[in-house]
Amino acid sequence: MSPSGAEVLREIKSRIDEVDPAVVHEQMTNGSVLVDVRETDEFAAGHIPGAKHVPRSMLESRIEGAVPDRSQHVVLYCASGNRSAWAARTLLDDLGYDSVESMTGGFTLWKDRGYEVEVPRTMSAEQRERYSRHLLLDEVGIEGQQKLLDAKVLLLGAGGLGSPAALYLAAAGVGTLGIVDNDTVDVSNLQRQVIHTTDRVGVLKVDSAEETIKALNPDVNVVKYPVRLDAENIMDILIGYDIVVDGLDNFPTRYLLNDASVRLRIPIVSAAILGFEGQLSVFKPYDGPCYRCLFPTPPPADMAPSCGANGVLGVLPGTMGLLQATEVIKLILDVGDPAIGRLLLYDALAARMTEVKIRRDPDCPICSRAPEDIRDDELGVFPDYEAFCAGAH
């Protein structure tokens, strides 16, 4: 009579090497390869950090991909130590691996001992469908989409630039969007601030933006700041964000933002518009120049027309806001060449994009110093600040 499965397993365990989870835990960094032989759904529910996944049902066809060198030491584990014993025999007897161990008690004992477990993030079926066009791109894929879902982006303003940026960042699945804006929707905004609607005139822009974003993508957590950014609140608001999208309309706050972001090492994707022309750059602290390297002092009020109401072609902030959103996504995914150290100049009437180089200023009053050396009372200060503000307001 043929032996039972239990008898065969006992026989196998008697001649393969078994290893206790404590030993595996101690030797995790000694160069041996840890292979999880459980099924895909078991692996997805949690596994030992750094383990490779080769389901036992695919062992013969896939183990060479995971462990090409047959002389390398391999530790196998499953849920309780049985399937990994079978798999160890296959590797030793049939596939010619030299040094294979099976972990006793499997993943269950590993967890019971309190050792670390990695639970991979999974996407719901709805998310896989929603982001399917991202998942098809090598530059995004599941890993990149997870980065987007984990990312925290702060938008300064839900106005001309912030509206299109917020819409596309929300659609792309950027998980947290903070919005700073103390303004309410005015009918004259609707020519370009496409996140708002006619029936929300008079509503706070942060509330209106949240409503549109939630309707577009419920994955997005909207954090609302119905305040004006100032020296008192800027550090509290910025902390914890990965990237800031700046469409600020005045110089004093622009310098304040620059200094705070350098101190916190948060990159800023900045754009400005006037008439038919726009500018865009990415200020990534210490990797490239900061705003003060580009413009150490603001112009006098008569050369700073953004202080008052100016005409703007409605689609121009759309174009520039979407260039900002594109740069944000590139920074999150770490792909391509962000516009660091470059100022892009877009002329809508000429349909022309040119760029100039921006250099780090070795004598920059802010970014030539270490972040911890920048004091609270220095944030946003520039020469003739009082005179400038008196002229601008």
Partner: protein
Amino acid sequence: MATVRIPPVLRASVGGEKELTADGSSVGEILRSLADDHPQTQSQLFAADGGLNRYVNVYLNDEDVRVLDGLDTSVGEADTLVILPAMAGGSR
């Protein structure tokens, strides 16, 4: 003659032109010739000491003239000077 690109905030001072040509073989000569033709730009471009105002950046093609030879940077016939004052403008 080199081409000079005029930013939106200076256009009123040069009769609304977006691009001009100006005589000169250096950045300083070209900008001074621009200021001679359009006197309003004098104080917008130049500080009292004759240097460039610190809030105005000037690029020879794509390079900041301050990292070249400043106003002494030589300029060829086919070059473009870009004048770029600080601009902070979202739209409210």
